[in-house]
């Protein structure tokens, strides 16, 4: 019997990058938290690193179409994001785990993920299967009928991940996903990331440099709303020397790149961002 093929399946991809930002500016309140960011990301798992206040969460919110850009260009899945524009198509292909993840305490795990699948406008007949898959993927199948208020912090974080991946998103944004996970769960989570990264653009914002080194194919380092560096975890590890702060090569590399950028920005305020562009070369 013939199968109805949706237009999504037959339309060829018409964009080179899942996420493309040029001179992107995003406000957090009145403050310009992302200030002239250039970034290109494709399929794979990218770790978003940066000190507190670097603009990581604001960038995530812009990519999640919650705040529109106040300047520059942001193109998601080939569609330009504008204030007042319609982001509905892009949102269907988005998965997002906010830093502070709210939920309805009286919902069961299954109900909540199901509700989010409905919110993401998945076809009704696909929802039950997709919900079950998502719950299995994060290892909560035995707690599927438990009320959310009975779950521990780590389990809730996993429910948050399940709702983010339930629609097999093309862009998956995870803000601090490993908070509250024990070491064993973190290992499982990295596997899930690698799996998702095979056909989606996954961006993981984190403080834990080790998570990035272990699970990411790419590292994005930002500071003060601008791109500092983009490259592979191996290059990150290679960027640091014995004198840099940190307990591992990746951490030392992180410290070195940040210190170098701060020194450069202090000497020449004009040199910020654009020089480093989107090239995949290390800063030195």
């Amino acid at each position: 019997m013939a199968r109805i093929v949706s237009s999504d399946e037959t339309t060829p991809t018409r964009y080179a990058w899942s996420v493309q930002a040029e001179g992107l500016m995003v406000k957090a309140g009145r403050h310009l938290a992302v200030n002239g960011l250039d970034l290109r990301m494709g399929v794979g798992v990218q770790g978003l690193l940066g000190p507190n206040g670097a603009g990581k969460t604001t960038l995530m919110r812009a990519l999640a179409t919650i705040v529109p850009p106040s300047g520059g260009d942001l193109i998601l899945l080939g569609q330009r994001m504008r204030a007042g524009g319609d982001a509905r198509t892009v949102r269907r292909s988005l998965g997002y785990l906010p830093q502070s993840f709210g939920y309805y305490p009286r919902f069961t795990v299954r109900e909540f993920v199901e509700y989010m699948a409905w919110m993401k406008e998945m076809p009704a007949r696909e929802i039950p299967g997709a919900v079950q898959r998502a719950i299995e993927r994060i290892g909560l199948a035995d707690r599927a009928e438990a009320k959310l208020k009975t779950l521990s912090g780590g389990m809730l974080r996993r429910v948050g991940i399940a709702q983010a991946v339930v629609n097999d998103p093309q862009i998956l944004l995870l803000d601090e996903p490993t908070v509250g996970l024990d070491p064993e769960q973190r290992v499982g989570f990295r596997e899930l990331l690698r799996e998702m990264g095979t056909d989606a653009c996954v961006l993981v914002s984190t403080h834990l440099v080790e998570d990035v080194a272990a699970a990411c194919t790419d590292v994005v380092l930002i500071n003060e709303g601008q791109l500092v560096w983009q490259g592979s975890p191996q290059d990150l590890a290679g960027a640091g020397g014995g004198g840099d702060a940190g307990d591992s090569p990746a951490e030392r590399g992180y410290s070195a790149l940040l210190r170098d950028h701060r020194g450069r920005a202090a000497n020449d305020p004009q040199a910020s961002g654009d020089t480093w562009g989107t090239g995949r070369r290390p800063a030195r």
């Binding site: 509905r88 269907r92 906010p98 939920y103 309805y104 305490p105 919902f107 993401k120």
Partner: protein, 458 residues
Amino acid sequence: MNRSFRIELRRSNALPLVAAVLAVMVLSDFLLGERNSWDGNWMKLAAGGRSSLLVMVVFAVGAGAMQAGLDYRRGVVELFASTPRPRRSRVLPVALALAIASVLAYLLTFAIASAWVAPYATYANPLAIAGVVGVGAVTMVTAVWLGLLAGHLLPSRLTPPIASVLALLLMAVASEGLGSLGNGAALSLLLPDLSPSVEGAATVPGRVSALQAVWLLAVGVSALAAFVSARRRFRVLAVLPAVLALVLVAPQLPHGQGYIAAYTIDPRAAELVCAAGTPRVCVTRVDAARLTQVTAPARAALTALARLPHSPTAVIEQPRIEASTVKPPPSDRGDTVWMDLTPYGVDRRGRMDPEDIKDLTVQLLANVGVSADRCLRTGGMSSADFAASEISTAWLLGHPPTPDSRLPAGSQEQTRTGWTALTSVPAAEQRKRVATMRKALLTCRGDVYTILTKGKAR
């Protein structure tokens, strides 16, 4: 849609709203305090429901505001903002669930309360009653949707209590205030408040209820549209239904004193039902359950009055909307004693209080059987007028006046001295003086106290 509606229903506080309204109404004044003022009269019950909206609206507004603030309190606004589903398809089911719940709460309260009315109600005008109840139900929907809008525009923990208090103030104060505005009498009918303290045959015409329903529903639709729309531009446009309804409905509402303007006399309810035999004793159809109970005391009053020349021959309940609003019919030449049953409630079996039945004879003999409204003196009776009424009643009943603590202090003293003055003259003169007093009251001329004590009008 069905499945999502079910989930949204669980997300909503629709069921707690129904439970809260029912619990409060059952425990509150409405069922425990007011149930004896319905008098087996469907219209009074329906109007009682409208006046208790004062309490129910507080819950409806609060529930709406809490519901709208729920997403903020749960911290899911951020998460939901990243999803494609339009706001309307997410919040409409909730708004609908709350509307159904609020209507259900209102109708259930009415249904429970009707157990006190149904067993001995003698008259019903289904259309008028449906109209009065319907406006109440529409008000609940509008209140819930206004609450949703308030909670959405001001997402704070303080919004539900503040919105509830504002609703209470609006209902309690504004209905009075609007009514007292110069030509604004009609404006008080823009609020749903109605009082059940009207006489039995009063009714709210279907047209008035329809106008009120259209206006209140339009306000609700405006609130809902503003709540549902995601864009500010549409939110501003949303006031259109309410403004349009105000312009079209307000001029058509009846003018008068506050909510009383809503009432007219229902001619079928006012039809007289009379006791068998003579003298004639009649009550209106709505109060027919009380006829057998009032017949004996009414006839006792006529017997007492028969000591006078040209004494009245019938006791008839006069259909009025409210005491002091209507004069007795111009055709009245003093052959009828007009009876007011409003102060006498009945219990759920339709029985009057035995004390009230005893008191009825005395009440009918007040002012020698002439209605105080005849010369519109209700508010203007002096202490001497009260004393004269006491003395003449005592004389008709053939025993000295009993001290009545409800009378002003001056009246009691005047009653005592007046009684001595009247009974010190021969019996024929006494009879003449009381008859003259009655004549003076019927013609609205003369000082009745002077007539009783000195034998002539000044």
